[in-house]
Amino acid sequence: MEKNVAVYLCRGCDIGGALDMDALKAVATDEYKISLCRDHECLCGEAGRELIRHDIQDGVNSIVVAACSHRYMTDAFTFDGVLTTRVNLREGVVWSHEPNHEDTDMLARDYLRMGIVRAQKAALPEPLQVEVERTVLVVGGGITGLTAALEAAKAGYPVVLVEREAELGGWMRKWSKGIPHGPTYRDPQDTDIGFLVAQAKNHPKITIHTGAVIEKTRGQPGQFDVTLRKNGSVVEFRVGSIVQATGWKPYDASKLEHLGYNQSPDVITNVQMEEMLAQGKLARPSDGKPPKRIAFIQCAGSRDPAHLPYCSGVCCRVTLKQALMARSLDPEVEAYVLYKDIRSPGQYEDFYKRAQEDPGIFFTKAEVTGVRNGGATLKVEADDTLLGGPIALEADLVVLATGMVPRSADGELIRKYLDAKRVVEKGEAGAQLEAAKQTVEELRCLEGGEILQLAYRQGPDLPVLKYDFPDSHFICFPYESRRTGIYPAGCVRNPMDSQCCREDGAGAALKAIQVLEVTARGETMHPRWGDMSFPDFFLQRCTQCKRCTEECPFGTLNEDEKGTPQPNLARCRRCGICLGACPERIISFKDYSPEIVGSMIKAVEIPDEFEGKPRLLGLLCENDAYPALDTAGLKRLQHSPWIRFIPVRCLGSVNIVWISDALSRGFDGILLVGCKSGEDYQCHFIKGSELMQTRSKNVQEKLKQLALEEERVRLELLPIDQPEKLVEIINAFAEEVEGIGMNPFKGF
């Protein structure tokens, strides 16, 4: 379709009074020969929008709105079938620079040039066509999975519930009572798991497969084809999204021999204690006699760098429950609780108080130094108690409060194993083979540990972050994982109690439904909600370098035999990291591509080196850094007029070619600002800013080739709430580049 670009200049919000509007208009009409260029005192008002609407009726299909930042008034400037390009004159120019100054006017004109170029080059995205199967797969039939299945089914979506064991109910089915989950929060309470199981079994929209494991999961959100193996037979079906509620397993107590495990049969874990309580009879494993003194050792292996460095958050309350239950089974029992801290948040403080009130339950803070087998009784030795000096307690039974380990599988590590195995099988020669053999040896234990069996290039399961929990940045992006349409919930995501599991199951079910509807509309999920653009791969020019398939944080791309990417676009979150990765620049979005951004960079007017006006390029991540710049404008923080900013989808979507183009065009410096990377990343696309850090090493190479100072390119990481810091960074960078001097490539 023929592009028909119109430019609209807003004079509101101080813009008209601070800029030379005629000169600005001349950019559109004279430089770019755009016949339709209007200005208005309040473009976002009804009159202003009516003006635009009128032109659209006359055939305009690409509008440049030079007003406020694109993050404001988005709805006001969205018109059906029209590509909108926003030019940030308000926060980016007049609110952050001296009004009616030559440099401020130059800045505004450059931004308008960039906007016009984008409006000319970009196209309106068309939604991805995906035929969506509106069924949710829930993996795991414990309390989280049951809740997720029931919630999704109640919302009207068919559910397939898959459970590994022969019966539904998970851990909770095996326990007689749970920690209290309702007022008065004082006594152990029935778990109600039986009720949930019955509800799930009777729900017409829930199909249950017990005793079943997943053999393969192929496809993408809306189209996951699942193969189950169930009692020797194979079941196949299609679902649209997946909730992974595979729960937890107890920490391996055999590693806790220093606490007496395996040294005496009377040292048991809290899970074994739970089984004993469920039988309703206290008996020592060694001689079957009823124990009268039970010592509970809290944090057994937990919060210990040598074992589980984290707190599972439930063991304290489980111990309170077990002590109370043991006391009610036999009032002669004395329970000793040795803790690091009792963690009983919220209403559970009442549960703790209840246990404290019991005259037969004794608490002390302690570092347990050992458990010794003293014949008929065990001796628990502890230090750092407030009882003064090292103490020893005599006990008939010792219960280790072990923590929760997620029942997850490290998809990326399994993939590494499979890759190495392939190398070994092929029998290629050289050092690579040796390394591969070693990897196979080390990782052999992973075999058979797969859960979802995803047919993804990047591995058969969700990638994990710390401590084997699936990588899911819960604070910023609740329930999201690095595999679109797959949502971990419950104890596999984070150790939690049954109440939290219920909430988590419900939350994940809503996400699983949301992805179905969003995908059906051809849009993407968090954080680019509603974005309809998607990457297009011009595969004829692909060199099979595999950078895109490796670097995509969401495993969007599979590979064929040769290594050519095979996109599964419903998995894509539109971050553009593939675009940044591609050395051949064959990946582009309709409204974001190497060419579009490259042209915008080239549209900036570079004054010659004798004018004393350096030009800097700022590529800001639009998730945190660009909003911070807007906030800086809102606060009227002034920044250098030498710099021109372009928002990028993610720092990872920056293609190196933009940097080298900018340098050879005569830009004096380039500032890249993204989100925090690493273990506690804040990058909205997980890997983006980290990848940029790696790529910027190549940039330094490029600078060397051009005989330019490496200080001309700077990468900074910044959270959204630090506009002052951003302005400091900008101004310091501008000053530093001025100190280095002008780029000698100007004018070439």
Binding site: Y336, Q356, E357, P359, F363, T364, E381, P390, E394
Partner: protein
Amino acid sequence: MAQATVVRPDRKFLEEIVAAGGGDLKKCFQCATCSVVCGLSDAGSPFPRKEMLWAQWGLKDRLLSDPDVWLCHQCNDCSIRCPRGARPGDVLAAVRQKVIQHFAFPSAMGRWVNSPRALPLVLVLLPVVLLAGALGIRGPVEAAVGYVDPHGHEFYAHFFPHWLLIVFYSSLTLLTFAGLLVGLVRFWKGMQGMDRALGSRTVRTSFWTAAWGALKEVFTHVRFGKCTDQAARRTNHLLAFYGFVALFVVTLWATADLYLWPHVLGDAFPQYPFGLLHPMKILANLGGVLLVVGTFRAMMARWKAPQDGRHRSTSFDWVFLWLLFAVGVTGFVVEIFRFLAEARYGDTAYASPMAPPAYAFYFIHLVAVFGLLVYLPYSKFAHLWYRLVAMIYAHQTGRNDGVRPRERTVTGTA
């Protein structure tokens, strides 16, 4: 590392502390707010946090041999600030009661005197019977030894002669004080033994230096003065304390006046009964006023205290206060009767119609004195001695060295 102490919880002892007023002790979750707010707590070995834990575990031996519980003057700042309502101040008070009972010799006395059910028997029936018995044997004894009481014409001596009074009370008091001494020695050894067992015993000064330091504290109430939130309690205690000391001195003087000074100091003695302006009489009346006012104020404070969350009082506290108060008030009533009767009837007042009611009050007074003096080693009155001994021990082992000046500025959570 020192040898690990085997900890065996004593649930029975735990229940006893609960019964003695420490009912909230299980609520403690060891946050140490109590030790932080306490102005008396020693930084090196702060209380009452550790005592709370010991009490929770029923560690009887440690608590009974702990000098620190006696360094507390129970301002109950800790109980008010305790985020859990575990009332450490009340727990320490209960522990002190258990200490007095535990070291009581003979131990049956310790249980018996403090048993609320035995109160009528202990406080009324026994002294009445014993005093009546003493009066009953007076005639036969005097006749047997041919004794003619030179004070027989005096108002109260006519009823209950001085010699009988002195023999009766001295013998019983000395008897029970022998028991007290046994208890105190055991207490001292207990403190020493526990410190040795925990490897924490240090001796900083001689016993006598320590005793001098402790006595200075007792007479100035300087430690008590650090409970600044409860300055009134210290005042009340000072009034009652000095009132009692004055009356005790006068009692000793009067005894000496009658039976010792005439042989030592000559014809000017005996001066008993003292006139209203006699220095000893002035001291006695002053002491009496201090005692009555002090105990009355203390009782009123205890009466009102539960309303502001301060003290919870047990029968252990109330019996002691009522006895002190009763001794003071009946003392004045008896004194007024004597002056009135002597003013009206002169030397024959003992035969006047005012005598029977006066003697009745005098008898009540004697019963109250019995309750106070004879039961001293077993009642709350024993705190005088146990606290003194614990303070001496604390001085000797340097426990007071780490008491820091109290911060009175309370700031926010910054």
